[in-house]
């Protein structure tokens, strides 16, 4: 090709905003790395556990952004995958603890076994549910994903063997390649590593051929069909990928809390994840991380102040939607 390819590699956004985005990203990474030190410095080491939970939710929010923000698929049942991932880990631990078996398997508490297992099981369940849900679109899709999540919610409520309504506790955290995850700081960094790895993966996917098709689906499905793309398959793969990310998050959550319950799959949880994504900026992948920190941080602060914090948070959300047209990431990093 004689055409100069150098100019073809220029991104659609101007360089200044690229630089700004990099600075913000770098600052964010440094902040994540420094949080335990800050917590210790402030004499509040218990905050490390709080930040760990923020990080874990951020993973689920990023994975939701993959389908919601990039693919334009508004799933209102994302917490189901979060909960399912958590339950796989807790059930594996349950069997390992009391030496019983599930289908002949004695359970495990090794992270390198049960975390991938949580991801795989969740992906397997998400596949048929996604296949059915994606037959619909728009508002129907919102509602059917919600309904399937409710179905899984009731499933765990009714399985009394694994605690039913009351949930299922884990005696201790998983071991990671034999190493103990009991130490709060170690576990925090493990979670941050997962967040960074998952977000990097999602960012790569967004730029890839697959990501271009997925982004095209959001902008005009009709165009993608006319280009000869069987969009259903791409959306389904994205749906399963996003579920897998949420499962990882749920697996970490089970370890953080050493407890899982049907509440992890509750629809309010799905709503919160959506809030994080939108608050942070849909389709930006990094924004939802900020969204998770801000939403959970505000919840934390308000709940320390008053028991009726939702009286304030609810209207805040409404105001945000009505008046803010782009998320935090857009305001801070200038994207979109």
């Amino acid at each position: 090709m004689p055409a100069p390819l150098a100019s073809a590699q220029l991104p659609a956004t101007p360089p200044a905003s690229v630089a700004r985005r990099r600075v913000v990203l770098l600052a964010g990474c440094l902040l994540l790395a420094a949080l335990p030190a800050i917590a210790h410095g402030a004499g509040q080491p218990f905050l490390i556990a709080t930040f760990t939970r923020f990080v874990i939710y951020a993973i689920a929010a990023v994975s939701l952004d993959l389908i919601l923000g990039i693919g334009g698929l508004t799933s209102f049942g994302h917490a189901a995958w979060f909960g399912l991932g958590g339950y796989v880990v807790a059930i594996a631990a349950f069997h390992a603890q009391d030496a019983s078996t599930l289908l002949g398997w004695g359970g495990s508490t090794e992270a390198l076994v049960v975390w991938p297992l949580a991801i795989a099981v969740t992906a397997l369940v998400a596949l048929p549910i996604g296949a059915l849900s994606l037959r619909t679109s728009g508002i129907h899709f919102i509602m059917i994903t919600l309904a399937f999540a409710q179905m899984l919610f009731y499933l765990f409520v009714s399985v009394k063997f694994y605690g039913g309504d009351d949930g299922l506790a884990m005696q201790r955290r998983n071991t990671l390649a034999g190493a103990d995850l009991r130490d709060a700081t170690v576990f925090y960094y493990v979670c941050v590593a997962c967040l960074v790895a998952w977000t990097t993966l999602c960012a790569a996917i967004r730029r890839s051929r697959f990501g271009m098709v997925l982004s095209g689906c959001r902008q005009s499905e009709r165009r993608l069909l006319a280009l000869g793309y069987p969009v259903y398959r791409y959306k389904l793969v994205a749906f399963v990928l996003a579920a897998a990310g949420a499962a990882l998050s749920g697996a970490l959550w089970a370890n953080a809390a050493r407890f899982v319950s049907p509440d992890m799959l509750a629809w309010v949880k799905s709503g919160e994840l959506m809030v994080m994504v939108i608050l942070g900026g849909t389709g930006t992948l990094f924004g939802p991380i900020a969204g998770a920190f801000v939403l959970l941080g505000v919840e934390q602060l308000l709940s320390a102040w008053t028991e009726h914090w939702m009286l304030i948070l609810g209207p805040l959300l409404v105001l945000f939607v009505v008046f803010a047209r782009r998320g935090l990431w857009g305001l801070v990093a200038g994207e979109r």
Binding site: S7, A8, Q9, V237
Partner: protein, 249 residues
């Protein structure tokens, strides 16, 4: 000449309205075949059936000898039947080049590739740029689609369709809403493609139709009332009566 696209006795009704009524149409390889007709004649419905967005009530559509009546849109495209949209359906948040590159990508095997940066892939970007050059859009390759002018959108529609390297083009009013200058450029462009690509052209602009088409079919109230060379159509009294009469012949 061999027939490339052929509809046989196509019917499509919406309630009592027969939008497509017993339409049999053949586009030969190497031919530009135009379909003209007054507003509401059923042109859009016909295109939608050819692309697979609407299913006909009765009748068959064959492409290159193969029955494609039941095939979904994306499969028809893969067989080599590409279309342009009347109302621009480009991807608004992507650049012009992205839009064309996505068409190149569609032709280049699986898109289930998750890691390499598609915007740095020269096997996609190179061809995309050459198609943009062909329609005269190289200067705005990096401009986001929603910031392009209407005329540029029409050109980009064509570049995207060409990038699919189709065996036949379905052009749904490619001149719609264009000014005279843009129109003339588009007609010239289409004429330069004539030798390479058979086309089915649905268009309002009579001058363009008569200067481009080898054959013309006239659609009125969902029925084809005449098919023939531009000259024959011009002279057909039934056509003049139903359609051209208002223009003073």
């Amino acid at each position: 000449m061999a027939t490339l696209l052929e509809t046989s006795r196509l019917d499509k009704s919406f309630g009592a309205l027969k939008a497509t009524d017993d339409v049999s149409l053949a586009v030969d390889a190497g031919e530009v075949h135009a379909v003209i007709g007054p507003n509401g004649a059923g042109k859009t419905t016909l295109i939608a059936q050819l692309t697979g967005e609407l299913a006909p009530d009765r009748g068959t559509i064959r492409f290159d000898g193969r029955d494609i009546t039941g095939l979904p849109t994306w499969r028809r495209t893969r067989l080599g039947l590409a279309r342009s949209f009347q109302i621009t359906t480009l991807l608004p948040q992507m650049s012009a080049e992205d839009n064309v590159a996505l068409a190149v990508q569609a032709r280049s095997g699986s898109s289930f590739r998750f890691f390499a940066d598609a915007r740095r892939d020269t096997t996609l970007r190179g061809p995309a740029r050459s198609f943009l050059e062909r329609v005269g859009l190289a200067p705005v390759a990096q401009t986001r689609c929603r910031e392009l002018s209407h005329g540029e959108h029409r050109q980009l529609e064509l570049a995207v369709a060409l990038a699919l390297q189709p065996r036949m083009l379905l052009l749904d009013e490619p001149l719609a809403g264009m000014g005279q200058e843009d129109s003339a450029r588009m007609v010239a462009l289409l004429r330069s493609l004539k030798s390479e690509l058979p086309m089915l052209l649905v268009e309002h602009d009579m001058d363009a139709v008569f200067s481009l088409a080898d054959r013309v079919s006239v659609l009125v109230y969902g029925r084809i009332i005449a098919t023939g060379t531009p000259q024959a159509i011009r002279d057909d009294p039934a056509v003049r009566n139903a359609y051209l009469g208002g223009q003073g012949g």
